[in-house]
Symmetry: C2
Subunit: 362 residues, 2 copies
């Protein structure tokens, strides 16, 4: 691939353009908002001039509702050898493109599983896709040349290609992304009616469950509007499980011991299925999760405390796999939980204790 | 307070005993499993010998189902001036104690909002409660002397006392702790039926939402069995919202534009209420959350990388408020997100860039 046209210079389009430019591809940038295309060009993502000849690959990175129309228009004008989009949902643009008389052979629907809280070209970075799954949804009619152009783009962005059927992709993101978003929002929404004292009792569990409830509604309305059926199907299944859970809890209130036993069994079932589902989420580097051991260290809130602890941990030659900071309520202190391979716990603990840290070891 | 008896030397009982002993209180330890009491004593939590005279405070730290019986027995024997329990639910032990003819004046129900993944005396630490809320649920009949003994215990454990009505406490923990646990399990449970490729698409959102779905079922069955009514009430409210959400998604599938508009409005409402609820969760040190800025740094998976980055960050004199490690899928690299006060971003970024780190700045 020598030349590419990025249509839509938001976060995703500009990030891909930055990666391609960094690896020597000539990138042309266009956006309905010409100011935004000029911003992307100023960031080094390419040129805001139109290409003089057809490019190798056109990357359509516009909002979901406009994808098919932009694709069909670009195909009509013979802008590129191959066309792909990077929208979060894959069934709708494919069907809409067919409805508009677009060419299914030179089009490939894709979805890079990367993003961030911020949007727009100023939030873009060349490494946004590094190590992330990038889904490709070729059909029987897709030209192999177009598939290979897309694979080259993904390799240049240092992402990991994953091939899926378009509708299977939409069901998968309904399950692993869209449903968790809505349930996080529904749990958080319950807090709007809570009194101030109840809210003070929030711990790390509800903080984690509701973190993504802080997401920007607009983007999620667009995503969910393009995938309502599969999301509704998963939510309906959750609703069924939820109704059963409520019935099990009501049985636990019963005076009848057999009913209470059945209720406890129902709750145990929910919790065990939760254990089993959670265990399926791949760990670091796509492997199954390692059972890391935790070394918890008491820290004050002074600048440099974390710097000092990591420098001291580094002296132990231990790789810290994950970090969690547990903030104390109402006090200027907290715990840092260092997750390490179980065999590293002793070395790390000894070194940190030797350097004066208060350790709470698992 | 000079003397205390801790009945039940698991994680919570032994942690409280360690804190009291560290601050000069003479602590007696007892457990139905005498081996466990001896372990706690060996850890420096107190003595496994019985007290020769009544103690100032008896702390009942046994599983929920046994609390009332243990309290009533201790009161009958005149073991202490005041009695408290530390169970996760507060209405049940109070009512059960009354049913057993216990003395409501010398008893106070309390709940320290602290815990960890591990259980048993070996997991205990004197600082388990530092900075954490510790709920007290005095009734009109509670002796002021007993309330003051409990406040002294909480101060010695360096926790933050919060006074609540017992039933209000149970409704609050149903909302902020028990409901998020069950919904995390219900979302995770959906993954048991997913195919392998779908599971590969799991990102940070579902990881956070389902983290606590890995919790041990046994402990949660005990907790939920003691608080089924309030949890069922919150879950039923979530179920109502969920049904509305499914209806809104089905409307988004409609050919009728007005119906689709109503569906989008319904989804927007869910997401906005989620934003509002999430914003109510107190931030660090019990304050409202500060909008931290994120500086993302690319790291490899070599030992010492985190050590080096924190040492370099420390050189900037910047206080890192929170840390998140984003693991890449299928690659030996990832991003560390450093959360800092917005005004610190420039200094931190400059120092890190100057030391050769690849920065992705917000």
């Amino acid at each position: 691939m020598r030349t590419a046209l990025v249509i839509g210079t938001g976060l995703i389009g500009t990030s891909a353009a930055l990666a391609l430019t960094a690896r020597g591809v000539t990138v042309y940038l266009t956006d309905r908002d010409t100011e935004q295309a000029r911003t992307a060009a100023a960031l080094g993502a390419g040129t805001a001039q139109p290409p003089e000849a057809p490019v190798d690959l056109a990357v359509v990175a516009v909002p979901p509702a406009r994808i098919a129309e932009v694709l069909a228009d670009a195909q009509r004008r013979g802008t590129a050898r191959g066309y792909l989009d990077v929208g979060s949902v894959k069934g709708v643009p494919r069907r809409e493109l067919a409805g508009l008389g677009g060419d299914p052979r030179s089009y490939l629907g894709t979805h890079p599983m990367a993003g961030r809280e911020q949007s727009g070209p100023l939030a873009a970075t060349a490494d946004l896709f590094e190590g992330r799954p990038w889904v490709l949804t070729p059909g029987a009619e897709t030209d192999t040349e177009v598939l290979n152009l897309a694979l080259e783009l993904i390799a240049l962005c240092r992402a990991v290609p994953v091939i899926m059927d378009a509708d299977a992709h939409d069901r998968a993101v309904a399950l692993v992304s869209h449903t968790p978003q809505l349930l996080s929002s529904l749990v958080a929404a319950r807090l709007t009616e809570a009194d101030e004292t109840a809210v003070r009792l929030c711990g790390q569990g509800i903080r984690d469950v509701t973190r993504i409830a802080a997401s920007e509604p607009r983007m999620w309305i667009d995503i969910l509007s393009a995938n309502p059926g599969p999301v509704a199907d998963v939510l309906a299944a959750v609703a069924g499980d939820l109704d059963e859970t409520v019935r099990a809890l009501r049985a636990l209130e019963s005076a009848d011991e057999a009913k209470r036993g059945a209720g406890a069994e129902g709750i145990a079932g929910v919790l065990r299925r939760g254990n089993a589902g959670r265990a399926r989420i791949p760990g670091k580097h796509g492997q199954t999760p390692t059972a890391y051991a935790t070394v918890a260290v008491l820290i004050s809130d002074r600048p440099g405390e974390l710097a000092r602890i990591f420098a001291d941990a580094g002296a132990a030659g231990v790789n810290i796999e994950d970090v969690r900071i547990e903030h104390a309520t109402g006090q200027q202190a907290g715990h840092v939980q260092l997750m390490v391979e179980p065999q590293s716990v002793t070395a790390l603990t000894e070194v940190l204790r030797g350097r004066g840290w208060a350790i709470r070891q698992s």
